[in-house]
């Protein structure tokens, strides 16, 4: 699988290595568990969403609805496990409060996928619909209220530790490896890359393009739903107005820095994870060393521009 190390990935690893080295030298407390845990926590949610985004980008599309889907899923979970039924059946309630939001998220993905693959609407416009209204739906569900709760079984998702690292970090890691395997080893993965790489050739070779696209948007939405659940778990609170704000941009940035080409045909899952880590680490490095929040944004912007430019250079 690592037979041919993509030069892009190698470059990213090097850049990451440099950053880590810099931090080891300059930042106090860099290696302590607390710092690590905080960083992992922040990266994990972005990475999970970015993985789904990478798949969508690989198909030649884009998904602006992920942040709103996060909000919807995050709003639904507490509603379910705080309901009377769930309080009476805590085991089933917990399960439902995880499964149902994910299902709803998947349905959002079906909506996007059908608009795009069957009605031929452009991805940016189709996913715009949920971008605009999804958060509103979440707010309606919660009546605009911040929902706080204590439910240790649920919040374990966000605050639990396995081997001293946050659960969500492990989830992100497992998902990365799993999806990387899916992309490389399954028929879906091959079909996905061919649809994004050369859709006409894919059609001619008998690839079921519409089905692949719909499946992809479903996966992306489900992952966003999962990320929403995690965020709610971390905070023990569900704030429909805030969850996933601007997440789509973070996700796209991570994907592009990780090597995904906006034109489609490439799904570097490990790259995406590293891209998310890189952006997070860059931000952390700057802040921990006294650079203001604002500069961090500017630096991130520059990173994205450079990453895209480098991509173009290699394409020619």
């Amino acid at each position: 699988m690592i037979r041919r190390l993509d030069p892009r990935l190698a470059g990213l690893l090097v850049a990451l290595g440099v950053l880590i080295a810099l931090n080891l030298a300059m930042t106090p407390n860099f290696l302590n568990m607390q710092t690590l845990a905080v960083n992992v926590s922040q990266v994990a949610t972005i990475a999970i969403v970015a993985l789904g985004m990478t798949l969508v980008i690989a198909s030649g599309g884009i998904d602006l609805s992920v942040g709103s889907v996060m909000a919807v899923a995050g709003a639904l979970a507490p509603i379910i496990f705080l309901s009377d039924w769930a309080l009476a059946n805590p085991g089933a309630g917990l399960a439902a409060s995880i499964v149902v939001p994910l299902l709803v998220a998947a349905l959002c993905g079906v909506f996007n996928g059908v608009l795009i693959a069957i009605l031929g609407v452009q991805p940016i416009i189709a996913t715009l619909i949920f971008f605009i209204s999804g958060r509103g739906v979440a707010q309606v569900l919660t009546n605009g209220n911040l929902q706080t709760f204590t439910n240790p079984s649920f919040t374990w998702l966000g605050t639990g530790r396995v081997l001293s690292l946050p659960v969500q970090g492990w989830i992100a890691l497992i998902l990365t490896i799993g999806l990387a395997l899916v992309v490389r080893r399954t028929i879906y993965g091959r079909y996905l890359l061919s649809v994004g790489g050369n859709e006409r050739a894919a059609v001619l070779s008998g690839v079921p393009v519409a089905r692949i696209k719909i499946a992809t948007y479903v996966i992306a939405a489900t992952l966003a739903g999962l990320a929403g659940l995690i965020v709610v778990a971390i905070n023990s609170a569900s704030d429909a107005a805030r969850i996933g704000q601007l997440m789509e941009l973070d996700a796209i940035a991570a994907a592009v820095v990780g090597g995904a080409a906006l034109s489609g045909g490439r799904a570097p899952m490990v790259g995406t994870l590293l891209g998310a880590v890189f952006i997070q680490l860059m931000g952390y490095t700057l802040i921990a060393n006294g650079v203001s929040d604002e500069m961090t944004l500017i630096v991130t912007a520059a990173i994205i521009a450079i990453a895209v430019w480098l991509q173009r250079g290699r394409r020619q």
């Binding site: 399954t186 091959r190 890359l193 050369n198 050739a201 008998g206 045909g265």
Partner: protein, 510 residues
């Protein structure tokens, strides 16, 4: 000739190390209709693009109106007085007819703003000249291609150019429209404007052109007055043949083994018509036989293949597979029915550039290579290794990205993609185009092998030897219909060329 309008000498141009023009020459007098002919890849389009500022030549001189020039952009060429109508429509379909006609040269009012009233008047003049009656305020794209083409020509003709270049201008026009076009060309000629007329339709060249320049393999191999040539001379020049050559050269690997006659009909197509050009085509493809489709560019061969493979909707006709009517509505359905189609354009319809040789080769085979959604990579590698060997694919290893391979090797991978699904009918559209001689023979040998194993083959080829030596039957097409059928054994190149040069009235029709 005294004072030629244009003289291009010793032009060379390469793209990424591959030469497109090696020694091209062109001389045009004022008020002359000059034709440039040559097969695909001969360099016509490159030569034109150098003249019109789209490309820059590597070496050679371009002498325009007596002065050496170096035209570096389309704008410069236009300002020098060269107007072009390209083969691919280069107008803007979303904009109105008026806008397209004046785009870039809009008339102005005194305030410097565009004067649409004058623009409309100018448009009407152009339309009247061509006898076109339409509402110029509608989007260009809402009109059929023929009208769009006439508008493109009208735009160029109205630009007061000294040289007007037309690349396949009549590909969508009917007879009446072609006559109108020719009338305009004669007018231009009378005014002293020269026209470069690039076309594959030899009848038209003989009707309207004065002089012809023949390009082959990037070189100018001849220039002569049309009046002194026959159609056969022209084709011979384009193909680079003489009687001797025909006898000696070009044994392909398709010849040799006895052909089976009377194999079961795998696919019968009757009365196939599509919106795009195909008119009532009949074809029968039998197991173990090759049917060749011959014809010049634009004759509808690829359209026939696409119609059979489910890529275009049929507006008429029927397809029977094993005697049973089959509704082939998509390539996916076609593949399920045992059909395969190797497209002539590997770049836009063939390779998935970022994927490896292995992934490209097995793309159509994946459903059979997977269990529960997971691809059996061990079996995949074995199969791919087999094909790499059998087809002689030169790649560093099977995981190399296909875009790094040469054109010939890419073509082999794509052929492998289709052979891998073990189809009953293999449709090949120019399978050896852009492939070196050695690879050509290898590909031909593989096709022969498959045919002997019982596969039916529909072979579209511009290489006469392939058709003559390989095909049991050759269907000659022109303008979307079949105009004659030749049966082997016994078909000669002369016969084939005659059949292609003849019009629809000659020979056995559908």
């Amino acid at each position: 000739m005294d004072d030629p309008l244009l003289q291009m000498t010793a032009i060379t141009k390469s793209f990424g190390g591959i030469p497109a023009l090696q020694d091209a020459m062109l001389t045009i007098a004022p008020g002359e209709v000059h034709s440039i002919v040559g097969q695909n890849g001969a360099g016509k389009s490159t030569l034109i693009k150098i003249l019109t500022g789209v490309y820059r030549r590597d070496s050679g001189t371009v002498c325009w109106q007596g002065r050496d020039v170096d035209l570096r952009s389309p704008r410069e060429a236009q300002e020098a007085g060269i107007a072009t109508i390209y083969q691919e429509l280069t107008l803007v379909p979303q904009r109105t007819v008026i806008e397209n006609i004046v785009l870039g040269y809009e008339p102005r009012t005194r305030l410097g703003l565009i004067d649409w009233r004058v623009a409309e008047a100018r448009t009407r003049t152009v339309l009247d000249r061509f006898g076109i009656d339409l509402d110029p305020h509608r989007a260009l794209g809402s009109y059929p291609t023929a009208i769009q083409q006439l508008v493109a020509i009208g735009r160029a003709a109205s630009m007061d150019a000294k040289l007007l270049i037309m690349d396949e201008p009549t590909s969508s026009l009917d007879e009446r429209e072609v006559e109108v076009l020719f009338g305009v060309i004669r007018q231009l000629k009378a005014q002293g404007t020269s026209v470069i007329y690039v076309s594959h339709l030899l009848d038209e060249i003989f009707e309207i052109c004065d002089v012809v320049t023949i390009l082959r393999d990037g070189r100018t191999v001849g220039a002569a007055r049309i009046a002194e040539l026959t159609k056969l001379d022209l084709i011979a020049g384009m193909l680079g043949r003489s009687a001797e050559d025909i006898r000696k050269a070009g044994m392909t690997e398709l010849a040799g083994s006895p052909r089976r006659e009377g194999g079961a009909a795998v696919l019968e197509a009757t009365g196939l018509s599509t919106d795009r050009r195909l008119r009532k085509l009949d074809l029968t493809l039998r197991a173990g036989e090759i049917v060749g489709l011959a014809g010049l560019l634009g004759s509808g061969r690829t359209e026939a293949a696409r119609a059979i493979f489910g890529m275009d909707r049929l507006s008429g006709g029927q397809i029977l597979i094993d005697g049973v009517p089959a509704a082939i509505t998509s390539p996916r359905a076609a593949i399920a029915a045992g059909l395969a189609f190797l497209s002539e354009d590997r770049k836009t319809e063939g390779i998935i550039p970022d994927l490896s040789v292995r992934e490209n080769l097995t793309l159509a085979l994946l459903p059979r290579l997977s269990r529960m959604g997971v691809v059996d990579t061990t079996r995949e590698r074995t199969i791919v290794a087999g094909f790499i060997k059998a087809l002689g694919i030169k790649a560093a290893h099977m995981d190399q990205p296909i875009r790094e391979l040469s054109g010939g090797n890419q073509q082999k991978v794509l052929l492998g993609r289709w052979l891998a699904i073990e189809p009953r009918l293999l449709i090949l559209d120019e399978p050896t185009r852009g492939v070196d001689v050695g690879a050509k023979r290898e590909i031909q040998a593989i096709i022969r092998e498959r045919v002997e194993q019982g596969c039916a083959v529909l072979l579209i080829s511009s290489e006469f030897e392939e058709l003559i030596e390989g095909a049991n039957d050759i269907v000659v097409m022109q303008e979307g219909r079949s105009i004659s059928r030749l049966s082997n054994p016994g078909v000669t190149e002369d016969q084939l060329i005659h059949a292609m040069a003849a019009g629809p009235s000659a020979g056995g029709a559908a």
